[in-house]
Amino acid sequence: MDDAEAIDLLRQGDRRGPQVLMERYQMSVYNLSLRMLGNTADAEDATQEVFFKAFQRLEQFRTGEPFGAWLQGIARHQAIDMIRRRRTIPLAAAEPSRSLDVEAAAIASLDRAQVQAALRQLDGREQALLVLRYWEDQPIELIARTLRISEGAAKVALLRARRALKERLEARKGTGRAL
């Protein structure tokens, strides 16, 4: 059954429609939510909300548009809304900047878990920017639209978010060790 057939069934109130669409797209929606929100409980809530909204607002879906891309759009906005409702974690005072090459070498030696943990210490908006750009490979204009800011503002915000992450990673390497 292709997407168009599943959507037709959904519109007719046939349970097989939403079943097929969930089986097909829950993985991508859940993982996008998980990456943006950083914990499984929120990702589960977000995924449920995304599918509820999609099924309730099916009249907004334009036939011929890829259903997966439409869902991902709802998922991005859902995650951003949830991030906005959260209290943000304030950034600790930044470490003084060191030479770029030395920083690069030190940061490159960090493992994946350390980088992910440092990312989760950033505020929600910075996390969203970095996840959408470097984990979800989204173009800057789409990120700007999702965050409801201009493209120029998104470019600067992304630069600042990278800088904030770098400071977090340096802090994780320990202040006592030479970087």
Partner: protein, 165 residues
Amino acid sequence: MRCEDARPLLLKGQHAEAEAHLESCEICFGWLEAHDPIVAVLQAARPTLSPVPASVASTVLARWQPHRVSLGMGIAAAIALSVLGLGLSALSILAAPALAASFLASVSDLAAIVQAVAAGLLAVPRALLFDQPLGLAAFTAATVAACALWARLYQQSQLPRRTVS
């Protein structure tokens, strides 16, 4: 500010003028991403895909209710109810003609009273609405607005509620 002046400033730290340049410079944006070690570090730390808990789909599907009541089903139900009502009336008249006649007589008396009261009650709104086209138009608009509000409330009542797990 020129690109080659902005880039080292942007790599070092916040600099208002350099950031203003970046806002409108696609080339510097790309250059910064290519030269920032954090980009590669982040991309290497991209989480692998996690399996979706089964409860997600089961919760959505359990709460999902088909929106549309089929029009055909509605009409069929209305016809069935009408036929049932007519059938019951006919049966009662055939089974007990005397009882039915006295019942119908009392109903017609009651109907006459109700009609008189209703006519009195309706006289005022009738005078207000039907004799004044503007009043009637305003009343119609208010009715349509009320219907739209009810439709909106119904739509909202269909939105998902957060599940407690």
